[in-house]
């Protein structure tokens, strides 16, 4: 085999002299190939990438025998020399396109900056090169877009600009750290296709860092799995997915939600619990000194659906389609208009104290387990809050007993009640949020992307927990998500939302296997599916 582009030998990274984040790993990346580093959050994948460029935080210590970039050991270079390598020979794409572009510079000048740094070209040639790059990343109308600021672009377009910046130095190796995680499924597919075609044009090596096994199976030539700082398995993609050797890899693959599971749900009809008809939620756009309402943003534009008792309705759509707004306005957190009837009570007609008393019927679990709990309250108090508010007559001993019971139900140790939220991992926090929602015995829980911030294996556990609770308590879920594979796992019925309207509704088997609308078909096609030949 020819010489590798990048060869890392026995790399270790320690934080504060104690915490070993990357533990003695070695790997090679060859010219023209796509190498994927897979692992759950906290396994040390990003730190590995950063340590190759020596961009580690100050409290980290790097130890390695060699980091060879085409037989040139990067460890022998000074910081000054490394600056010429970063961006020139190794390009880097970060996860979040929102925060990696400077909001007060036009995208054209941000690309120019990189070109001027690495090449000595006349002004005209630089301009020409910027246009070329924007064409290469398939940004529409590059001549006009060159003067745009980042906020004028969508998330996908921004990620294209990021790729253009990374390509500006004509690197031999492009490191893409979770390049599509914050993007919608359809855009994710576009960006991946773009990366693939650019790789073919330029012949550079692509180092893909991801937690998404399905995505990796469609993109990579070789895969390495990282667990707690160690590479536990490396192999060619086909071999890797068909005959995983390490137990951790097998566990990861088993935890993946699969589209096939939707066929196992029972189709038994139950009486409806929640009936929503003709529901609207408009945000006014105000202009001028008198704040006249000139137009509305139609976030939710006339939707109707039912949820049956003890069943799950999945609400699917891309970001910005109004699904979260709908979920929140069902709880009256955002004002909406239309009929919402739960258990025979018309929720929208109520105000003040009467509404407060009915709050127990619908609860919500949010997407971000980090911002959905007050960081200054003890977990026990967080869970007990609803009981305190809605049942002030309950004595404090009974309340404590109830909190213990709830913690048990969501599989958390009892002493969690006296700890703060930040002491828990993402999955555990999501369990606390579920316990908080369950505390007031709701009939319906709105789950707003409860698993999208979690790792695959944790995601599977949470979904299992939700299912078990449904069987035990007969609670219904409105499950808001963009992930169709999760939908197949948990939902009984599906509603597809597009631009504030529900465009397709039906049982999960129907919608996922025989979609009627073109948009639903497009969504389904964009979902990365494990390439496995059985």
């Amino acid at each position: 085999m020819n010489n590798p582009i990048l060869a890392v030998r026995h790399l270790s990274v320690t934080f504060n002299h104690r915490q070993t984040v990357v533990d003695d790993i070695s790997f090679e990346i060859h010219a023209g190939e796509t190498f994927a580093l897979v692992g759950e959050s906290g396994s040390g994948k990003s730190i590995t990438a950063l340590s190759v460029l020596r961009l580690l935080p100050n409290n980290a210590r790097l130890n390695a025998d060699a980091i060879d970039l085409q037989d040139d050991n990067l460890l022998n270079h000074s910081e000054f020399e490394l600056c010429k390598i970063r961006g020139r020979r190794i390009g880097f794409i970060f996860q979040d396109p929102m925060s990696s572009l400077n909001p007060v510079m036009t995208i054209g000048s941000q690309i120019e900056e990189v070109i001027k740094l690495h090449f000595d070209l006349p002004r005209e040639a630089v301009k020409q090169r910027v246009l070329e790059l924007l064409q290469q990343v398939e940004l529409p109308e590059p001549q006009l877009r060159i003067k745009d600021y980042p906020h004028q672009l969508s998330g996908g377009q921004r990620q294209r600009v990021m790729i253009a910046i990374a390509l500006a130095g004509k690197p031999d190796l492009l490191i893409a750290d979770e390049p599509t995680t914050s993007l919608d499924v359809t855009i994710q597919a576009q960006i991946l296709a773009l990366l693939k075609s650019i790789q073919q044009q330029t012949g550079m090596a692509l180092w893909l860092i991801s937690h998404d096994l399905a995505l990796v199976s469609t993109m990579a030539d070789r895969v390495a799995v990282m667990q707690q700082g160690k590479i536990v398995e490396t192999g060619a993609t086909a071999e890797f997915f068909n005959q995983p050797k390490h137990p951790y890899t097998r566990k990861l693959l088993n935890a993946l939600p699969s589209m096939g599971s939707c066929l196992t749900h029972s189709a038994e009809e139950k009486p409806p619990l929640l009936q929503v008809s003709d529901f609207y939620c408009y945000y006014p756009i105000r202009k001028g000194i008198f704040k006249r309402i000139v137009d509305f943003v139609r976030a939710v534009d006339g939707v109707s659906f039912d949820i049956q008792q003890g069943k799950t309705l999945a609400l699917v759509g891309e970001s910005g389609c109004g699904k979260t707004t709908l979920g929140k306005s069902l709880l009256n957190l955002i004002p909406g208009s239309g009929r919402v009837v739960i258990n025979g009570v018309e929720l929208n007609a109520l105000t003040g104290e009467a509404l407060r008393q009915q709050r127990a019927n619908i609860q919500i679990v949010f997407q971000d387990p980090f911002s959905s709990m007050n960081p200054r309250m003890l977990v026990g108090d967080i869970i007990a809050e609803g009981i305190r508010a809605l049942h002030p007559e309950v004595s404090s001993d009974q309340r404590k007993a109830r909190v213990r019971q709830l913690l048990q139900q969501v599989d958390l140790p009892e002493d969690s009640a006296l700890r703060y939220p930040h002491e828990f991992s993402g999955g555990q926090r999501q369990r606390i949020c579920i316990a908080r929602a369950l505390a007031v015995d709701p009939k319906l829980i709105v789950c707003d992307e409860p698993t999208s911030a979690l790792d695959v294996s944790v995601q599977a556990q949470i979904i299992q927990l939700l299912k078990t609770l449904q069987q035990e308590k007969g609670v219904s879920y409105l499950f808001i998500t963009h992930d169709l594979a999760v939908v197949a796992e948990i939902a009984d019925d599906v509603a597809v939302m597009y631009q504030g309207k529900i465009i397709e509704q039906g049982s999960v088997a129907e919608v996922l296997t025989q979609p009627k609308q073109a948009y639903t078909k497009k969504l389904l096609a964009a979902v990365p599916v494990l390439k496995m030949d059985h």
Binding site: K328, L331, L333, R356, Q357, R359, A360, I362, Q363, I364, F366, D368, S371, S372, M373, N374, P375, R376, M377, L378, I382, E385, G386, R388, A389, L390, L418, Y420, P421, H422, E423, C433, R436, A439, V440
Partner: protein, 447 residues
């Protein structure tokens, strides 16, 4: 015993803090941050320094009429104990540890002839026969003697405590932080004992224009500084917190009204308001002379009003910050979850919003504390600060200002005020840093 207005407020403050301490004693989740503060060396050392200042301030806040009262004056415990310092006035300026006045004047010699020279001080080093040769050995000897006395006093006290302590506390006392704290206490007590001892024989920080001991002035100013720092903050805090949080949380017309109030208040020059209110107090006192017979009562009234008006003019900045933070917090998901759980709005404000803006309050309180102590100095400069007869670092600086141009320079008033102010403000800042770190649950974990 006589209770002045500011005294009453200080007592109230202490009672409230004790009650708060008792209330929080049993709380499990308060214990951990407190223990973290207890482990931090910087925190404990600055706390010791702060407590030392507070102790002096408290001693200076117990006022009474002396038994053999002739001049209808009210003095504090501190004045009583520092009577020699208070009464050993000189004629005019003298340098620290000087035995003669700072400037030459005509003096009458023992044989009746007149001479142009430096007259001996009335108290500073009076007993020395030949100051030029005897002074330095005498100062050294007295310093050592004072240090030894102070050290043995505190050493004895520590040994006594060690003997009385139970075994479990002894283990705590052996930790490195406790050792540092004891060392600091030891140093502070010995040094201040030596200073007190020395000041019985010399003017340690010299004397000012009317011959008053500068060391005494600086120590007396501690109370003024603490009162202005704490009382003003106490007046300002409720307004800033209540208005800021309400405006941010309810928005709409509440927000409009509150914003209108603080924008209006902000656009009136604060100095004008302060000048007007101080004038008002003076007029009031002139009309009710019977109620304000003593100089110290008048000065106290003026101090109280100064605190109030400073409080009224300085809440807007914090209010604005809190409004912005609340605007951000009210969109947080835990606030939405709480309202989905049917928690009443008042409870949301108290349990979710207020604890999460406290770090901002804490930081700005400390910054304001320092800037208020400094503001007092500026206001005294244009004569609308504390009463010219009361002791304050502002008045000291103001007095020293004119002498800066003098040759040779009179530097000691300014230096003394600066050293005391610096120590107090620095200790407060460091302590607040530690407290803030400890009470932020997100940071306390990764220590």
């Amino acid at each position: 015993m006589i209770v002045l207005w500011t005294d009453a407020l200080i007592y109230l403050l202490i009672v409230v803090m004790l009650a708060l301490g008792l209330y929080l004693r049993g709380k499990e989740h308060i214990k951990r941050p407190l223990q973290q503060i207890g482990r931090s060396k910087i925190g404990m050392v600055s706390l010791v320094v702060l407590l030392f200042f507070v102790l002096i301030g408290l001693l200076d806040s117990v006022h009474f009429k002396p038994a053999n009262d002739k001049k209808n004056e009210i003095i504090s415990l501190l004045d009583d104990w520092a009577a020699p310092l208070r009464e050993h006035g000189e004629k005019t300026y003298s340098a620290p540890f000087a035995t003669t006045l700072y400037s030459k004047e005509m003096m009458t010699l023992e044989d009746g002839s007149m001479q142009w020279g430096y007259p001996r001080l009335e108290f500073g080093g009076r007993y020395l026969n030949n100051p030029e040769t005897e002074k330095i050995p005498d100062i050294l000897q007295k310093t050592l003697y004072g240090l030894a006395q102070g050290a043995s006093l505190i050493g004895f006290f520590m040994l006594l405590m060690w003997g009385l302590l139970a075994e479990q506390h002894k283990r705590f006392m052996r930790s490195s932080t406790a050792k540092t704290v004891w060392a600091v206490v030891f140093v502070i007590v010995s040094l201040s004992y030596a200073l007190i001892y020395l000041s019985g024989y010399y003017h340690v920080f010299g004397t000012d224009k009317v011959g008053e001991d500068v060391f005494y002035q600086a120590v007396k100013s501690i109370r003024t500084g603490l009162v202005i720092g704490t009382l003003t903050t106490l007046i300002m805090l409720p307004m800033a917190i209540i208005f800021g949080i309400l405006a941010g949380f309810f928005r709409g017309w509440v927000d409009d009204v509150i914003q209108y109030i603080y924008t209006t208040l902000n656009s009136i020059p604060g100095v004008l308001l302060i000048a007007a209110s101080i004038l008002m107090v003076q007029v009031y006192m002139a009309n009710h002379e019977a109620d304000f017979t003593s100089v110290i009562v008048r000065a106290d009234m003026r101090l109280l009003f100064l605190c109030m008006i400073l409080g009224v003019t300085s809440w807007t900045g914090l209010c604005r910050l809190l409004r912005a933070e609340t605007l951000k917090l009210r969109e947080m998901e835990y606030v939405q979850a709480a309202s989905a759980l049917g928690v009443k709005q008042g409870a949301i404000l108290l349990r979710h919003i207020l604890p999460n803006v406290m770090h901002i309050v804490l930081i700005s309180v400390v910054l304001d504390f320092s800037s208020l102590v400094l503001a007092e100095a500026v206001l005294s400069y244009i004569n609308i600060g504390v009463d010219p007869t009361s002791y304050s670092w502002g008045n000291m600086i103001n007095g020293a200002r004119l002498e800066m141009a003098r040759e040779p320079i009179v530097w000691w008033s300014l230096t003394a005020a600066f050293v005391f102010m610096f120590a107090l403000v620095l200790a407060a800042n460091l302590f607040a840093d530690v407290v803030q770190d400890a009470f932020d649950p997100r940071r306390s974990g990764n220590e």
